[in-house]
């Protein structure tokens, strides 16, 4: 396949267990180490992803679309190395900013400004980068007046606005965006979509959404997922 792919998933399978670890016996676990065949499903296990092949080049923007539980978020987790495939290979070149959860790591007792440092470093920015972009981030969030107030007093809309503003100013080459375009009010949402379009040319992006009309506005192609399998590869959008 393409050697200049920024993100490549090759024959990727991912197995999950419905059961919690507590419901497995230690004996079962230990036995599994010795004679566990990766291809077999034990009781309570299922394939979250089945033989996924995806390759994304530089500057490509792809949407993942499918019903709940079809494996969209699992793919994002694999790309960001939060979890690893049971079988197959995931190769990623460049820095990944997983905007999987807007405001992940926000601490209620810290002010908005302090949380920009917190959240920014969590998604992989350096302190220097954050300082340089601080004004831009605050301006984009439209929260100038509340930026030195602790975020426990923020409304959920303000939370999302701040989180998105930090995320979108990240310098990573690869952006993973999960459902975060569903940000608060319509005017801010439009602004976010515009921003995503502005920066997409030099980034590789994967966008997950239930809102098909919305992702069709942004992405080059949509990958349809159904029960962990790719349904119809590269549905190219005509623009």
């Amino acid at each position: 396949m393409l050697s200049d792919a920024m993100v490549e998933l090759k024959n990727v399978w991912k197995k999950y267990s419905i059961r919690d670890i507590f419901h497995r016996s230690l004996r079962e676990d230990i036995a599994g180490i010795f004679r566990g065949n990766k291809d077999d499903l034990k009781e309570g296990e299922f394939w979250a992803l089945k033989n996924i092949n995806i390759s994304l080049g530089r500057g490509e923007c792809v949407g993942l679309y499918g019903p709940n539980g079809s494996g969209k978020t699992t793919i994002l987790k694999l790309i960001s190395s939060v979890t690893y495939p049971t079988k197959g290979k995931v190769t990623v070149k460049g820095r990944v900013a997983p905007l999987i959860a807007v405001g992940a790591g926000f601490h209620p007792d810290l002010t908005g400004r302090e949380n920009i440092y917190m959240n920014g470093t969590i998604i992989g920015m350096t302190l220097k980068e954050i300082r340089e972009r601080m004004d831009e981030i605050i301006e984009f969030s439209e929260l100038e007046k509340f930026i030195d107030m602790s975020v426990k007093k923020y409304s959920s809309g303000m939370y999302l606005k701040l989180g998105f503003s930090i995320a979108i100013h990240s310098s990573a080459e690869i952006l993973l965006i999960d459902e975060i375009l569903a940000v608060s009010d319509e005017s801010f949402q439009r602004k976010c979509i515009k921003k995503v379009k502005d920066i997409r040319s030099n980034k590789t992006m994967v966008i997950v959404s239930h809102n098909r009309a919305l992702i069709e506005q942004i992405v080059d192609r949509i990958i349809f997922l159904e029960e962990g399998e790719i349904e119809n590869l590269s549905h190219v959008i005509n623009k």
């Binding site: 670890i21 987790k77 959860a101 601490h107 007792d109 969590i122």
Partner: protein, 259 residues
């Protein structure tokens, strides 16, 4: 030093975590950072009261206050490190399931905050030593390698227990009991000097015994350490540290799936 390399790449995140743990802890508190001093001081007063007036026991040849404080310093560093680090991974469930970063940053930032407290409490110790006119010799510098042992031992225990806690929450539930039992197994409110050799050997199975006893010795008594003992404990702790870090790295890959 794999750990240093991994953290170096994420040094800004590590700095922010330490800063956050430190500021959040004292935010909305009136006396703030004074809490770092109050814990060892109040324990010192309690122990001194109990041993000098209630039990009327003589535990050392020098004032009880300095004796207890010198043991409490490393002990509180160790115990508050464990208190922070053991639940640190499970507390950050939302981050671990969503974003990659070297997971050891979480337990290590807890240890760093305990370290800041240790430094603050040590300054008070210096003041106490002045007040009691304890004669200080160059041997006090042994504190530095001894503290290095304590640090590596603390990191090893923290990494091991915090990662097991991701799988089995029993660890967190056992923490309070574990720390309490460990306290009595460490020479904080007693000295092993009066014990017979059999008990001494048993207590030396706990690396803290060597560390706390010697920290006291080189500060209060101005004596040096026994080199072969230091080397022996050092080797044990190094091996333990590498094994537990290896275990952490190995289990880390599954954290997001099992947490």
């Amino acid at each position: 030093m794999q750990i240093a390399k991994r953290i170096y790449l994420y040094r800004d995140l590590f700095r922010v975590f330490v800063w956050r743990e430190f500021t959040i802890r004292y935010r909305q508190s009136i006396i703030g950072v004074l809490w770092a001093i109050i814990q060892p001081l109040s324990m010192m007063v309690l122990f001194t009261f109990i041993f000098s007036y209630v039990l009327k026991l003589k535990v050392a040849d020098y004032p009880h206050t300095v004796f207890f404080y010198s043991g409490l310093l490393p002990w509180i560093f160790f115990s508050s490190s464990l208190n922070y680090s053991i639940p640190s991974l499970t507390n950050h469930y939302d981050l671990i399931t969503k974003i990659y970063f070297p997971r050891e940053i979480l337990p290590l930032s807890g240890i760093s905050v305990a370290f800041i407290d240790y430094i603050i409490a040590s300054l008070i110790f210096a003041l106490i030593l002045l007040i009691y006119k304890i004669h200080i010799t160059w041997n006090v510098l042994w504190l530095i390698p001894l503290f290095a042992l304590l640090l590596f031992f603390t990191i090893a225990v923290s990494l091991l227990l915090s990662s097991v806690n991701v799988y089995y929450r029993d660890v967190k539930l056992a923490t309070g009991f574990l720390i309490q039992a460990w306290f009595f197994a460490s020479p904080v409110m007693y000295s092993i000097d009066q014990l017979n050799i059999k008990f001494k050997m048993i207590l030396f199975l706990n690396p803290l015994t060597f560390i706390i006893e010697n920290m006291r010795r080189c500060v209060l008594e101005g004596r040096s350490i026994v080199l072969w003992q230091f080397a022996f404990v050092g080797v044990i702790i190094t091996i333990f540290y590498f094994l537990s870090y290896k275990f952490f790295i190995k289990t880390e890959r599954d954290f997001a799936d099992v947490i």
